[in-house]
């Protein structure tokens, strides 16, 4: 087996370009996904069946099917309908970039919603009763107590979800986007050095994952500082 380090160094800048797109995809869809996930989780945690039914079906569909199917449904599937093609949405749905972001956001929202729901239900009941006793309205309770407490509880689990998303973002390469994986594949088509290039791409992914883990640790220290506080002597 011939192994060429030279080819890795030569194409590393291009790979890093791809890594940048990966970061962009993960960051944008991660934030969008969170924005969708919070109301879904609140609805899902509701005791009224009529309210919790929609998020249930949503989560069931997005967690039960492969992300690749979801991406293809949006990217290729949307073009089947003339109504979509003629609508104002078409300039967005035509772009693989936006399709990837839509698919990733919807997907991560489903997983995130389930995590946040679990966190909401893990908040001690007494705290919510205390809010009621203090005369807080439902909205104020959610804003001031429930979401803040849930954020602290959900963070360790959510960091896992973001890591999984970083890995799934490689699927963007299947709809012609030049993210880290896509870039590696393009380079390989030119140089035919699959092992070297995929190895290099894998190492960049590992490095990104390591940085993410570190960031989440720091965030957790800040958000859950009561758990790390030293006892006053």
């Amino acid at each position: 087996m011939s192994w060429e380090w030279g080819v890795i160094w030569q194409y590393l800048p291009k790979l890093l370009d791809g890594a940048w797109l990966t970061i962009e995809l993960v960051a944008i869809s991660g934030l969008l996904g969170l924005v969708i996930a919070v109301p879904l989780a609140l609805m899902r945690a509701s005791e009224k069946k009529a309210i919790s039914a929609f998020p249930y079906i949503y989560i069931f569909f997005f967690r039960g099917t492969p992300l690749l199917v979801q991406i293809f449904l949006i990217y290729y599937g949307a073009s089947q309908f003339d109504a979509v093609k003629n609508s104002f949405l078409w300039p967005v749905l035509r772009e693989p970039y936006w399709c990837a972001i839509i698919a990733f956001s919807l997907n991560t929202a489903a997983y995130g919603a389930e995590l946040i729901r679990a966190a909401i239900q893990a908040i001690p009941k007494g705290e919510i009763e205390a809010c009621m006793a203090l005369g807080m309205s439902k909205f104020t309770t959610i804003r001031r107590i429930i979401l803040r407490r849930a954020a602290g509880i959900v963070l360790p689990g959510y960091s896992n979800e973001v890591l999984l998303m970083l890995k799934s973002s490689a699927l963007a390469s299947t709809i012609t986007l030049l993210d880290l994986t896509g870039m590696a594949r393009t380079i390989i088509a030119r140089t035919y050095t699959p092992l070297e290039m995929f190895f290099a791409a894998g190492m960049v992914y590992l490095a990104m994952a390591a940085v993410l883990i570190l960031c989440f640790r720091l965030m957790e220290r800040k958000l859950n500082r009561y758990q790390y506080a030293k006892r006053p002597v």
Binding site: Y76, S79, K167, A184, F199, A201, G202, A209
Partner: protein, 230 residues
Amino acid sequence: MDLHGYGELLLSGLWMTIKLALTSLFFGLIIGLSGAAAKLSSSRTARAIATTYTTVVRGIPELLLVLTLYFGGSQLLMFFASMFGYEEYIDVGQFAAAVAALSIAFGAYSTEVFRMAMQDVPKGQWESAQAMGMTPLQTFFRIILPQVWRLAIPGLGNLFQVLLKDTALVSVVGLDELMRQASVGAATTKSPFDFYLAAALLYLLLTVGTTLVTGLLERMSKPELRGGRT
């Protein structure tokens, strides 16, 4: 939803997906058990190898793994074969490359599940088995493994669902499984939405089936849930 008579194509793909998932499950479980044994062994080398394996595989995308083994599998295998003096060309088939990639990914995650399950078996059981005169191998297969199985089922069920969904990635390298067949149908009939939706529903069917089977296995492994004699 109009499949233009391509429904059978999808079903053949579904069958391939199931075969792929079950074969990878088999090898993945073996890798996972060995990985967990290595992680808990007293040998520092074995622990280091297992830790590197799980860290690396869990940190890189599954798609990258599939692509690497598909495009570089022959090269890799020939490299290892040449260490043993075999210099002929070896061709790694599509199915083999796919199974290898999926079981390596599954193995990394199941290593963790098995490790945790093994640690949950009280140490006293090893000691009493030893006191009864069992060899470590006997202890492992007779005492530990049946209990590990029980503790690991919920975790493994989740991982199998992930595995099922990951089989879709293999379509990227052209193996004729569900996703690939859906793409073929979509391209020939020009109705991609119908075909991908049909594929999505079939995947849902698989995941629901898995959930049911996992629940059943979990019940079987826990006599107390069946209201058995105590």
